[in-house]
Symmetry: C2
Subunit: 322 residues, 2 copies
């Protein structure tokens, strides 16, 4: 079995080896561009890890890993258009660099490339893998739709928020795990347990992200602490605060929504989070989801020593400081 | 074997029976909307016809037909955004009705739905069908990219134009034929002959469209005659005229490009087409492509009487007046 670092290398090398057509250049250059921006490649590594639980030959799953990473980056191109985002991983977004029309079309071509990778998998697993992949992709679209709709609403419940991040983020992690398991030759029950692991781990990961945005170490976090507060993003923390806060605190919160003194805004909202112990509540919810995830992983019918690497990666990602 | 009308009914009924999720409404309503706008359903009917050449049970190909029609309508949603088109089949385009962001995302979800239909086909044909479908889908994206780029250029050659319509339009027709053939159980040679038939027929169809835009009967054509002339669209006719016209006629043509008296513009450009016998040249090219198409169809290794319906449909579409 491979270490995480080795799997990351396999993914990076496989991405480098992909050859897109050279023409039309404006269709394919954005795809090479966004694929080369890096990132932690967590999703494809999870897919490979999941396959390796059941089959020592990790090579059989590489096209699946490429499909997932390509699909994920396609969603980033289209999401960045919808969110009007200028920067992705420190570089211009595709629509800033090539224009919106080109970004729409390159995204579409990238979705096709993702399917092309998936279709190269062994025929025996193709139907099950693609069924899972399509369900996953629909879920991601639904999550993005809800995320856009929530921006226009002030009455989003925590239940709705959890459902949104489940679709937008966690279902894709679940999909990676299940697809990897199917490729590796897992039975239905194990594949579904790994799906449950992935979804709940994905939820825990996103909740940790919400917490780190406020309480992360500014140096280690790598992005502006308080970014969610500044943009009034409806995270678990904000929704929980709205649920618990007294009338005068809610009024103070409301009066801050348009504030332009960001340092003051971040400080004041953080103080409100502290007052209502929002961090503890968010951490408890995060840990609850992580527990569900690891319980599912425990139930997977293979020897524990084969799960060690996956266990370690998942725990490090949930306990991360950046 | 079924008649064209029966196959159209099968396609319409299958489209009506598709149930999209009810939520999020704004994600799935645009999909139902554009799928219900109608059209001739030529592509799915061709796919069913192609499958029926080899297998009497047309039901085995219906999910393929749905996949192709769903994919085609997805490209219409995204193309209409890129082309800034307000009207599609006499109704508001999706981005006018739901906004650009929603139209991008519903298009994405629709691409997933197309793959979902395709994945329901029999496991034995899945890999070959999806490989062809992915190649086709890439081609369509490449064609749309070239079409957008050509709008910014004044030096497009006829060869480039034919390559663009091949990718944007004809490859999808070829894909329908090949996918239908694979589902029906055709061998590789027959499937490829039907692909060649579809591509060349698709080219002939598009060239006929270019001709009808200028020379169609205004009543039967159903859209404004001369629409391509008014919008300075670089069609086979315009590119051929540019190739052949004398300097003073080219100057006259250039001076008309910004004309606002559309009736005068259409009349004058048509007169130039007549002067250089552009209609005959376009018709000759159209017939050349149709001949290649029907020669490929002739070579398909099945009895001629099984090809009768397909032959009839293809000839009627090429000799159509609308």
């Amino acid at each position: 079995m491979h270490s995480i670092v080795e799997l990351q290398d396999i993914v990076e090398q496989a991405i480098k080896n992909v050859q897109y057509p050279s023409q039309p250049a404006k269709l394919y250059e954005p795809i090479s561009y966004i694929m080369s921006l890096g990132g932690k490649r967590i999703r494809p590594v999870l897919l490979l890890l999941s396959s390796e639980l059941f089959n020592d030959d990790v090579a059989i799953a590489v096209e699946g890993a490429l499909a997932i990473e390509t699909f994920h980056n396609f969603t980033l191109i289209h999401d960045d258009i919808m969110d009007n985002a200028p920067i992705r991983r420190g570089k211009d977004t595709v629509h800033v660099k090539w224009g919106v029309n080109n970004a729409i079309l390159s995204g579409d071509a990238m979705m096709v490339e993702a399917n092309r990778h998936m279709t190269r998998l062994d025929t025996s697993v193709l139907k099950d893998v693609l069924t899972c992949f399509n369900d996953t992709a629909s879920g991601v679209c639904e999550g993005q739709q809800l995320d856009m709709e929530f921006e226009q609403r002030t009455d989003v419940s925590i239940e709705e928020y959890i459902n949104m991040i489940r679709l937008k983020t966690a279902v894709l992690v679940g999909g990676c795990m299940k697809i990897g398991a199917i490729i590796g030759g897992a039975g239905t029950e194990d594949a579904n347990l790994l799906y449950d692991f992935g979804v709940n781990f994905g939820l825990a990961f996103q909740l940790q992200d919400d917490i780190l945005d406020v309480y992360g170490d500014p140096v280690k976090f790598g992005k502006q602490v308080g970014g969610d507060i500044i943009s009034n993003k409806q995270t678990f923390l904000l929704l929980k605060l709205k649920e618990l806060a007294a009338a005068e605190d809610l009024a103070a919160l409301k009066s801050l929504s348009g504030a332009t003194d960001y340092a003051h805004k971040v400080k004041t909202v953080t103080r409100l989070y502290n007052k209502y112990k929002i961090r503890d509540l968010a951490t408890a919810e995060m840990e609850r989801r992580a527990d569900i995830a690891f319980t599912s992983l425990d139930k997977v019918n293979i020897r524990d020593n084969r799960k060690a690497e996956l266990n370690m990666l998942a725990r490090s990602l949930i306990n991360r400081e950046h």
